[in-house]
Structures are given as C-alpha cells and as structure tokens.
C-alpha cells in the first residue's frame, strides 16, 4: 500500500515539535520507538498520527520507558533501516545507558532532544541540563534555535548520521516550549525534495541480511576496548566535521538556508559578544542590534554543532574581539559552566586575548530578558574598556536573592 504525500504551503506555521515531526515524515523513517515525555511528546505523536492517516509507511512502537525506546531504536537500527525518536529531561536521563551503546555500535539514529530541566526539583520547562547529559555520549549533537531549524536540522541529521563513513547517531536539540511549542513561520521543502535530500536508507552490517550474519554489541576488554573508543573519537574529530560541512552546503543549495558549525551574527567588527545556544541566540541578536545603536559593537555567536565541538571555528569567531560572555543554561554544580569550559578550551594556546566570563541563566525555563542582556553587554564593554574582568568570572543572572558570583 502506497502512502499519501502532503502538499505543503511554501510557508507553514509550525512549532518546533511539529516541524520535527514533519521532517520525520518526509524522511519516511522506518521505525520510531518512543515513550511520551513533556515537552517532546508531540514529535512522536505527530509520527503516529501521520502513520494513522497513511502519510507514513513505517512502524511506530510505543514502548514502556525511554530506556526501552532507545533499546528498540538500537535493535531496529542494527536490523537495517531509518530510525528516530524523541525525548526530554528525565526520559533522556533514563535513556543515557543506551546512548553510549548506540554510538559505540555505530548505529545511525536521530534523537530529537527537546531540552528541559532535570529534577529535583521537578520542572517541565526548558533549560540545557539534559543536553549536557549527552555531552560525552559519542553522538553527533546539533542545536536548532527555532522551529525552522528544528525541521532543517532533522533532515541534515539523517544525512550525516547514516553516511557510511560516519555511522554515528545524531541528536537534534531544540529548546523546550520556547521552540517546541512556539508556532513560527517555517519554509518546508516539498516531500519529494526533502526525501531526495535525505536519500533512501542504505543498510550496512544489517541483521536482516541473512546471507551475511553479523554480531553486534560484543565485549572488548583491555586489549581491544581502547582501540574501538579511539576509532569513534577519531571519526568524530576528523570525519564528521567535513561531512557536516558538506551536508550543510548541499542543504544550502537546496533551500537557500546556510548553516555553519558556529553561527556568527554581527561579529565582523564586534568588540564584545555573547556566546549561547537555542532560543537565546535570537534574543541576543535583537539586543546586540540595539546595543550597536547605543555605541557598543555587540555580536552574537550561536553554537550549531555541539559535538563534535568546533574548536577551530569557535576560536576563529572570537579571535578579534575583546570580551565574550559564555551563557550556560544548566547549573554547573560546583564547576565552571560546561559551555564556558568548552569555549575556554578552544581559546587556550591561541593568540587571542579575549576576556572570558561565564553566565548561568534561564534554569527551569526562567526567561532570559532583553534587560538581562543589556546589562550583560554593558558588563562586557566595561571588561573590554578595562582590559580585564570587572566582575567575577562566573555569575548567575535572572535569579532572585543576593547576587551570586564566583571564581
């Protein structure tokens, strides 16, 4: 039975979840195994509904936990077909064991991670705490700042992840609620164009090839384990970046939308910059424009590719500025911010004299206001003028009570 296509308008009004669901439909994902959790649930509900309405040929497996969701995704991916799922927060936390197994077994799977805070205290709103749980999991990790990008990054993720030189699973992050539940204009590709871009799944080491039986998920002890892990890291460091660049370029040709591992806005002549992820990028861009009217040469750097971390591109983006604020939307819990550390790591041993300060913000869905960012840019300018940090290195912003700053 053939499935039906959908004739989309040139401009649709979709929230991030629906945009991701549409991308899964257009990629004609073979198996989605999933478990509901706010705010990611509508993505897999979308797939299920598309299937019920014959817009998808595939299997939707509603399992009994997020751990089982990723377990089934791994089994399905090893069997040999296109696989995707979605989760958030606690669900992701329960899934973590299997994330390492999926990547170690080099199975392409696309996971939509709709970023949400981690309990306790329980919270359903957006921050990046769950994102950092995946940090060292060996997955390719992309970040979408808007519904449009949630759609685009899904299509891109399949193409990168399933490439036979890559064969690594990929996470597409988007902000819980701020992106996932906020309807915005999205320019989709046609069904045919989108599927052609992603391409027909090409199996590799597939368990359903009975003429070539394979064993997946072996045990390697001290005489083999290190080599396999080293191979995975090497492929992330060496093979994935060029593949992402290639797929970004292909996508630009098709859609006119150009993506970069590090997105720079107003950075060409900037003195100060905010480095952030997700929906904060858009807010920061708006404030940066306003700051320029007030005489502060403000820029914004948004991180598109979280893993493999684009060290060179980050260093390059920041090399000529005087002060940068790295925004971490998760509690560092006794350290510098996770993203602060990554950016610091990019700059070390370079000629850059950029002053680096870290800001912890937006936990549990707390808004990052324009006023917060105006103050922040002013602090950065003060740092730039003084030629040294005028504040402590780590500050909390937008939290009630006495000011918190450290280091």
């Amino acid at each position: 039975m053939a499935f039906d296509k959908i004739e989309l308008r040139d401009l649709e009004v979709w929230d991030g979840n629906f945009a991701a669901a549409q991308a899964l439909r257009q990629a004609q994902v073979d198996v989605v195994a999933a478990y509901p959790i706010t705010p990611s649930t509508p993505i897999v509900e979308g797939y299920a509904k598309f299937k019920s309405d014959n817009y998808i040929e595939g299997e939707f497996v509603m399992v009994e936990s997020e751990h089982a969701a990723m377990s089934a995704c791994i089994g399905a991916a090893a069997a040999g077909g296109r696989v995707a799922t979605a989760t958030s927060s606690q669900g992701l936390a329960l899934m973590v064991e299997t994330l390492y197994q999926a990547s170690g077994m080099r199975l392409p799977i696309v996971l939509n991670l709709v970023n949400r805070a981690l309990a306790a205290p329980l919270n359903v709103n957006g921050d990046h705490s769950d994102m950092y749980l995946t940090r060292d999991s060996g997955w390719i990790q992309l970040d979408a700042f808007s519904p449009q990008e949630a759609y685009d990054m899904n299509l891109i993720a399949f193409k990168v992840s399933e490439d036979h030189d890559i064969r690594l699973p990929a996470i597409v992050n988007q902000d819980g609620f701020m992106t996932s539940h906020t309807a915005q204009g999205v320019y989709p590709l046609t069904d045919d164009a989108a599927f052609e871009f992603v391409g027909t799944y090409k199996p590799m080491n597939d368990m359903l090839d009975f003429e070539h039986p394979v064993t997946h998920g072996v045990q390697t002890e001290e005489d083999w384990h290190f080599e396999h892990k080293a191979r995975q890291h090497n492929d992330l460091m060496v093979k994935v970046p060029s593949k992402i660049d290639e797929v970004f370029a292909d996508f630009e040709k098709l859609s006119g939308r150009k993506y970069n591992p590090v997105e720079c806005y107003d950075m060409a002549d900037a003195d100060v910059a905010v480095f952030c992820l997700g929906t904060s990028v858009e807010t920061a861009r708006e404030v940066a424009t306003e700051m320029r009217a007030k005489g502060i040469k403000a820029g914004v750097v948004g991180l598109r590719v979280i893993r493999p971390f684009p060290f060179m591109e980050v260093a390059d983006a920041l090399k000529d500025i005087k002060a940068v604020a790295v925004l971490d939307r998760s509690s560092p819990n006794g350290a510098a911010g996770a993203m602060f550390n990554e950016v610091a790591g990019s700059l070390i041993n370079t000629d850059s004299k950029v002053l680096l300060s870290g800001y912890v913000y937006g936990l549990g869905g707390r808004d990052l206001t324009k006023a917060n960012l105006v103050d922040l840019y002013k602090e950065l300018q003060a740092n730039a003028d003084a030629g040294k940090l005028t504040t402590q290195q780590q500050q909390f912003i937008g939290v009630r009570g006495p000011k918190l700053s450290y280091l």
Binding site: E211, H212, P213, T215, E227, A230, R231, Q232
Partner: protein
C-alpha cells in the same frame, strides 16, 4: 600482532563468515567458510584436564552425546556419530555420562592418554547393569 584502531570495522562488529552464505541451516559446518572471527576457528582444547575417547565399536548412534554436548563437539553426520571435535571439547564429561551403551562408547580419560591404547584396553560389558 593485534590490530590498531584504524584497522578494524567500526562498531566492533563481527562477521561470522567470509563472503556470503545462502542457507546456513542447510549448510554443514564442514562446508561453511567461517571467518577468523568465528569461535569455530578457535580452540579451547587447553581447558581440558580429562578428555572423552570414542570407541565406535559400541556406539549405537543414539545421538544423546550430540544433543547434550554443550560445546558442539560431537560430530554427527548423516545420523552417525563420527567423532569428537577436540578443538572445542572442554572435557566436561557429559557425553560419557549420557552414553547409554554397555560398555560405554564414550569414556573420559586423563588428557594425556593415548586413544589407541585406551581403546585396546576398553572396559568389558558390565554384567550387573
């Protein structure tokens, strides 16, 4: 020499056979092209302290040894027991234990024993059984 990190397939994946195999269940082990990664090509002979010796004179091809061997070490072809795969036998002794003949056609001996000598002095039928 063990392989370096860039010398093996990604994902620590192992292939059982070299090339393609059409019908595994219909292909005898003798006719399969096992890859170097199949444990079929490995040996656990050095695990053994005792070993089974097979005396075909008494064997009735009941196949108890074949079905109860945990190590796929009883070589049965065309419904006949034809020998023991000494690369894979761990010397557990189950085959000798389940052998129903009198005298048994499989008996465990110390690993160093000579098969021909033991067969030459094989125990006689136990009249009490």
């Amino acid at each position: 020499m063990k392989k370096g990190w860039d010398e093996f397939e990604i994902g620590a994946m192992l292939r059982t056979f070299d090339g393609s195999i059409d019908n595994i269940a219909g292909t005898s082990q003798d006719d399969r092209s096992y890859s170097e990664n199949s444990s079929y090509t490995a040996s656990v002979a050095d695990w053994r302290l005792i070993k089974p010796i097979f005396n075909k004179d008494y064997c009735i091809d009941c196949q108890f040894c074949w079905i109860y061997c945990p190590d796929v070490s009883i070589i049965s072809r065309d419904k006949k027991m034809i020998g023991i795969d000494m690369d894979h036998c761990k010397g557990c002794g189950i085959c000798a234990e389940v052998c129903p003949t009198n005298p048994k056609s499989l008996i465990m001996f110390p690993e160093q024993s000579e098969d021909e000598a033991e067969i030459a002095s094989w125990p006689a039928k136990d009249e009490e059984k």
